[in-house]
């Protein structure tokens, strides 16, 4: 068996350590995602989902425990290396489909490659166009995010998350803001991508129906991993 894409080993996170307001949000989380696995992360608000996602996304550091991304232990990495690893190994899709409004759909998708200085601009552009094609939005390539519907923006965000072909995509309630038809389209799109490209998804959602269509559901309750189905 391959090295898991994500391995969390006794991850804890405490905020305000040493103060009266000290709160432990995550308690010894252990979690593994295999290549191409599509996992739903569910739990009531305040259960620590966002904190968990930020730690996995290398946007925040755990207070204790070890985090392995794509087989690499991130505990001792410096800020610069974390940034590079984040850019190359993790794609993000946020709830409010945070595209950069100053750029067209195509440019948004090209951005991760430009940031990584990868390849000639022509090949970057062609790759971005093919990704937009995969999410069915090539005709809207030159549109600004402001001219698109929420579902369309979210599909652009998915194309962007895949730009550098990362082994892991973190999706923080990507369907939370969409009507059910659009949510379904976006979900199917992610599942398709995951199956085709072997990309692992950690998919935060409140929608049990969607959760049940994932490979498995990880439930987070008060900072503990709850039931697994």
């Amino acid at each position: 068996m391959d090295e898991p894409v994500l391995r969390m080993d006794m991850i804890s996170k405490t905020y305000g350590a040493g103060t009266a307001a000290e709160t432990e949000v995550l308690h010894g989380i252990c979690l593994e995602l295999q290549r191409g696995e599509f996992v739903a992360l569910m739990g009531p608000s305040g259960s620590g989902k966002s904190t968990l996602l930020n730690i996995v996304g290398l946007l925040d550091r755990p207070s204790s425990g070890h985090l392995h991304i794509d087989g690499r232990d991130t505990t001792a990495l410096a800020e610069v290396d974390l940034t590079r690893l984040r850019g190359q190994s993790i794609g993000f899709v946020f709830q409010y489909h945070y595209l950069i409004t100053a750029f067209s759909a195509l440019e948004n998708v090209m951005m991760p490659a430009l940031l990584a200085h990868r390849g000639a601009s022509q090949s970057v552009k062609e790759h971005a166009l093919s990704l937009l094609d995969q999410v069915g939005l090539q005709p809207l390539a030159t549109h600004r995010p402001g001219d698109m519907s929420g579902g369309q923006q979210q599909r652009v965000a998915i194309a962007r998350a895949l730009a550098l072909d990362p082994p892991l995509v973190l999706a923080d309630e990507p369907t939370g803001n969409l009507d059910s038809a659009a949510a379904n389209t976006v979900f199917e799109l992610m599942r398709g991508v995951s199956a085709r490209r072997g990309t692992a998804f950690l998919f935060v959602t409140h929608n049990l129906a969607l959760g049940q269509r994932c490979d498995r559901i990880v439930e987070l309750i008060d900072g503990h991993i709850g039931a697994r189905r």
């Binding site: 930020n54 996304g57 946007l59 925040d60 800020e79 610069v80 940034t83 590079r84 984040r86 850019g87 190359q88 993000f92 946020f94 945070y98 595209l99 950069i100 409004t101 100053a102 750029f103 951005m111 991760p112 430009l114 940031l115 990584a116 200085h117 601009s121 962007r160 550098l164």
Partner: protein, 406 residues
């Protein structure tokens, strides 16, 4: 770099109104600085030209006679007569002035050399008399010190044995003009009648009332100092070196060397005060432009915090974010300076049209130098860069998570 450039220009373009306002702000600042600098340079250049074209840069004269006590103070017990009377001065005459003149002509830092003899005389016409100062000159060499041909208001620049040039006010007072004859009586009793060949305007009424130029030999005869000159006037290639050169000339010739800087001390002090004031104004205008750019960028960082967070999540380093905002400052500064330079050029052209002498000639030349514009562009870009420093650091320090959550 292309990535930074793309982000910076897009951010500026998207916040169009904001960018426009701050560019206009920077432009007005640059315009004020460029316009003021050009105006001041023009004014000062004009003042210098006026001052320097009406007088020699250095005057060589015989040192004044100074009485010295004969006895050097020996022992403290010896009383020395302490009061020393100033001796009567002999007429100023430079010994072997031809030799001094050729030594001066041999120096590379000296542009023009003219020997003159000066003295007082009375002009007599009928019952009217007027005291004047007579300057004996060699017309060609003197024209290199004071461009008298340019200052001619009537007649011609010609000095023969029987010709004289007089100040225009003097001619008016005496009721004469070119072609008329006037009698000059020296204090020593000699007299000569000369024909006015031209009238000169020296730029001041007092000078125009007393100035009489005659041929050197004529003046020597009139003042009864045959063969003598009272001073040698010099112009320099670099008038601002006058003090230094005067020192070396004094050592070389054992004559007294007076520079125009020493004799126009007030003028210099005034000029420096003016320069200092303008530097201060420029500094404060520059600071307010910088503060404007910084404040707009601070707002922009807050507005863009989500974008910054996403960029960081996509693998943008802190350094990249820093550079994006620094670049925005520099671009705003550069565009502002270009627009400001254009505004200043228009202002200067307008000013040239408005600021005219009563006779319609421009009051003074204003140079619009490319160097000034390039300097303004450079300084404005650097100012923009520095002003962007604080906001850029703030942007780079944003934690992605907090930025995205806003």
């Amino acid at each position: 770099m292309p990535c930074e450039w793309l982000l910076a220009t897009r951010f500026l373009r998207e916040g169009r109104v904001q960018s426009l306002f701050i560019i206009v702000g920077a432009a007005i600042g640059v315009a004020v600085i460029v316009f003021m600098s050009a105006l001041l340079d023009g004014m000062q250049g004009n003042l210098f030209r006026r001052v320097l074209s009406s007088q020699p840069h250095i005057v060589l004269e015989r040192p004044k006679d100074v009485a010295r006590s004969l006895a050097a103070p020996m022992a403290q017990s010896v009383a020395v007569i302490a009061r020393i009377q100033t001796p009567q001065q002999r007429p100023d005459t430079i010994d072997q002035w031809q030799k001094v003149r050729s030594a001066m002509l041999a120096r590379s830092d000296i542009d023009g050399v003219a020997a003159i003899v000066a003295g007082s005389a009375l002009i007599v016409r009928g019952a009217a008399t007027q005291s004047v100062s007579v300057t004996g000159i060699e017309p060609d060499s003197y024209a290199r010190i004071v461009p008298l041909p340019d200052k001619l208001s009537a007649g011609v620049y010609r000095l023969g044995n029987t010709d004289m040039l007089v100040g225009q006010q003097l001619a008016a007072d005496m009721g004469v003009g070119p072609g008329d004859r006037l009698r000059l009586e020296a204090v020593g009793g000699a007299a000569v009648t000369l024909k006015i060949s031209g009238l000169v305007d020296l730029g001041s009424r007092a000078a125009n009332q007393r100035a009489v130029y005659v041929l050197l030999s004529t003046a020597q005869n009139l003042l009864q100092r045959p063969g003598a000159v009272s001073a040698i006037h010099l112009t320099l290639r670099d008038p601002f070196q006058a003090e230094v050169i005067a020192q070396s000339l004094a050592d070389q010739t054992r004559l007294e060397a007076l520079s125009w800087i020493a004799t126009n001390n007030q003028f210099f002090v005034g000029l420096n005060a003016q320069r200092f004031t303008s530097e201060l104004i420029r500094l404060f205008v520059g600071l307010s432009v910088a503060a404007g750019i910084a404040s707009v960028l601070v707002v922009s960082v807050v507005q863009r915090s989500k974008d910054i967070g996403i960029l960081r999540a996509m693998g943008a380093s802190r350094g990249l974010i820093l550079r994006v905002f620094l670049l925005q400052g520099a671009i705003v500064g550069l565009l502002g300076s270009l627009a400001g330079s254009a505004m200043a050029a228009v202002l200067l052209v307008l000013w040239r049209g408005i600021a005219r002498n009563p006779d319609g000639t421009p009051m003074f030349d204003i140079s619009i130098s490319l160097a000034l514009y390039l300097l303004a562009a450079l300084v404005a870009s650097v100012t923009g860069l520095l002003a962007a420093m604080a906001p850029a650091i703030r942007a780079a320090r944003l934690q992605p998570v907090e930025a995205i959550r806003g």
